[in-house]
């Protein structure tokens, strides 16, 4: 019976294992793709602001420090489904706490319904890309995230783990005090009985 159970488990597990696939995009191997390719791996965010649907793409999805990357931005009017065709200014700012450094990386005009902005970031970290444009005499400001490299994000996990340890220590101290008081109470009651 156990051998059947074993075989059943092994066959179920092997059924879950999928074969390895080659990473090809439209017939091209993934290693030949870069930020200027038509369909390289990307990170895409869609948002809506005022009268526009804005789609933001970053190529590659997670650029490395010192390596070139590209932002593609599409802004489509909700009213008439036509793309915005004015000028869009792109800025980059450090998203870490206590940092307010902002730098303009370029102003772009529309090219085949897309606004393309190249960039190179030297240091790893989380950044904010701000796209600014004016439409119908209204200013539009949209922030998007950009992660370069693998930044350390220890603040919140450290706070939570610290909170767990703090709770354990406080409760341990309180418990010790309670036990001491209990012992004193017990010894008093024993003395009284004698």
């Amino acid at each position: 019976m156990r051998i059947f159970l074993f075989l059943f488990i092994v066959s179920m597990l092997s059924a879950m294992i999928s074969p390895a696939y080659a990473h090809h995009v439209l017939g091209r191997p993934s290693y030949s793709l870069n930020e200027d390719s038509n369909t390289p791996p990307s990170m895409q965010i869609e948002t809506r602001i005022g009268n526009y649907f804005v789609t933001y793409m970053v190529y590659p999805a997670f650029p490395k420090p010192g390596e070139p990357g590209r932002i593609n931005l599409y802004a489509l009017s909700i009213k008439d489904n036509k793309p915005f065709n004015g000028k869009i200014t792109f800025e980059i700012s450090d998203d870490s706490w206590f940092s307010s450094a902002t730098e303009t990386i370029g102003a772009q005009v529309i090219d085949d319904n897309v606004y393309r902005q190249g960039f190179v970031v030297k240091n790893k970290g989380d950044y904010i890309i701000t796209a600014r444009f004016t439409a119908d005499n209204e200013p539009y400001v949209i922030d998007f995230p950009l992660r370069v490299g693998v930044p350390s994000q220890f603040t919140l996990p450290v706070i939570i783990i610290g909170a767990i340890l703090l709770v354990l220590i406080i409760v341990s101290l309180l418990q010790r005090k309670r036990l001491q008081q209990q012992r004193i109470r017990d010894s008093h009651s024993n003395t009284t009985v004698k």
Partner: protein, 495 residues
């Protein structure tokens, strides 16, 4: 590019339609059920009750859980390449619901949130600790209900679908850590396991669904329990911890608060507690006792499963955009999303309450009694749709596990290409027809149990006239119809 799952095939839809009509007609013919009692058969051996097996499972799940946290914090932010998001949302969250049907609340027995909290506070890996770090205070009265767990569950749904935590490994790890913090704080302050009983959204969902499970921990000989004076199952023994949720095995009638921890099986001197097979509908039909907070939990559970399904349909986004234009919402459209979430909860609550009010007017019974007693109808309807919906996720999005385990942090991995997405879509765990057949069976099962609930609960309420409980049949029909309609729609893939 957005990938979608095809909806339920026409033949499956018409099978369910025919079955529902047949069951509905039969119900009108035979409106009252005979009194059923819970009978247990000891069919599951002592193997599953071994403490070492439970301990090894707990360690294994705790290690996986710590890997998830590590991968979430230090791994790639690409959701489909990081084990934190794939294991948490694609496999565990989607598969948990199926484990409940076969194993009841067994997940709670190996839950890493509770295991880690227990090891930290009790300072023992297993067996009862003489001295521990808990203040053992009584849980305040205002906390002794499932309202906190319900609020957490709504919050979790909001985080999952509104904020998109399922696609964020870092925040998945943060939520996991937060749950350990909550479990640790609760265990450090309160008696037994207040977190599992009143706060845990997963535990309470598992508990309510476990009412429909085919297995449960129950006394082998109920007479032995009736004569028991020592109640080791409740108090524990020298070596074994007491029941974490304060249950007495001899009077246990519903799975809602049982965490399947196995303390009762180990502490009972007569070895009178065992895993038993039983009818999956027995608790919802007759054994489970109705309570106001629990009734609301079941009702909102149904609303949230429906909401879950709605958000994955292609027109949901158009609806959200239209709402956003109306209320002038922008950015991630969280206000529109929250309005949709609240709207669905309110809508289902209003429909249910209105139909209960009609029964109250017709029968002269108190509204609250009818509301709580008939609330069990929501359980099978929610459970059946939840399983049918998750089956779709599981067989397509659960692929690629070997790839994930070979590179759990997703180091240097790229996002899924269109080709890979297509491959996942096409290479399912089993065929589309089998999926449709299973979904159809689940929907029929849900409606069948719902009808059984009406038949038996109306007897317990002394409602004899057909017209007095017809609104509940109407309710079961519209919910089943709506769920079925959602299943026939194309569903958007999560990753």
């Amino acid at each position: 590019m957005i990938m979608t799952h095809p909806g339920l095939a026409e033949w499956a839809l018409f099978t369910v339609y025919f079955a529902v009509m047949t069951i509905g007609t039969w119900f009108l013919w035979q409106p009252h059920g005979k009194q059923k009692t819970q009978t247990n058969n000891r069919v599951i051996g002592s193997f599953v009750q071994q403490p070492w097996l439970l301990f090894i499972s707990r360690v294994l799940f705790a290690v996986l859980f710590l890997l998830i946290i590590y991968a979430g914090l230090f791994g790639t932010p690409i959701a489909e390449r990081n084990i934190a998001t794939v294991l948490t949302w694609n496999l565990w969250w989607a598969g948990l619901i199926f484990s409940i049907f076969f194993l009841g609340s067994a997940w709670c027995a190996v839950c890493p949130w509770d295991a880690l909290a227990g090891w930290l506070v009790r300072r023992r890996l297993f067996k009862r600790s003489k001295v521990n770090n808990s203040l053992n205070l009584s849980v305040p009265k205002w906390l002794r209900s499932v309202w906190p767990a319900l609020l957490f569950f709504i919050g979790l749904t909001w985080l999952e679908l509104g904020l998109g935590v399922t696609l964020d490994p870092y925040n998945t790890a943060l939520i996991s850590l937060l749950m350990v913090l909550l479990a640790t704080v609760s265990l450090s302050i309160f008696k037994r396991k207040a977190f599992c009983q009143y706060l845990c959204p997963v535990g309470r969902t598992v508990g309510f669904y476990a009412q429909l499970s085919a297995t449960a921990l129950r006394p082998v000989d109920p007479d032995l329990c009736a004569d028991c004076q020592t109640l080791e199952c409740y108090h524990g023994s020298d070596d074994i911890e007491p029941c974490p949720t304060g249950l007495v095995m001899g009077t246990l009638a519903q799975n809602t608060y049982c965490t399947s921890c196995g303390n009762c099986t180990q502490s009972c001197p007569e070895s009178n507690v065992s895993w038993s097979l039983r009818s999956p509908s027995i608790e919802a039909i007759s054994s489970a006792r109705p309570h106001w907070d629990e009734a609301w939990f079941m009702l909102i559970l149904l609303a949230l499963t429906a909401f879950h399904g709605l958000t994955m349909l292609s027109f949901w986004e158009d609806g959200m955009n239209a709402l956003a234009s109306y209320i002038n919402d922008s950015g991630q459209l969280l206000l529109s999303f929250s309005s949709g979430l609240i709207g669905i909860i309110v809508l289902i609550a209003v429909i249910y309450s209105a139909l209960i009010k009609i029964i109250a007017l017709l029968s002269g019974k108190p509204f609250k009694e009818l509301f709580t007693t008939f609330a069990f109808i929501n359980l099978p309807l929610a459970f059946a749709y939840h399983m049918a919906h998750n089956l779709n996720h599981l067989i397509r999005e659960g692929r690629g596990l070997a790839e994930i385990f070979s590179n759990p942090l997703g180091t240097d991995a790229l996002p899924l290409s269109m080709m890979e997405k297509h491959e996942r879509q096409m290479t399912m765990w089993f065929s589309q027809d089998l999926l449709a057949a299973l979904q159809a069976i689940l929907m029929i099962f849900g409606f069948w149990v719902a009808v059984q609930v009406i038949r038996h609960r109306s007897v317990s309420l002394n409602i004899t006239s057909r017209s007095e409980f017809l609104p509940m049949l109407f309710y079961a029909l519209i919910i089943t119809g709506f769920n079925l309609w959602m299943l026939t729609q194309d569903m958007i893939m999560r990753m």
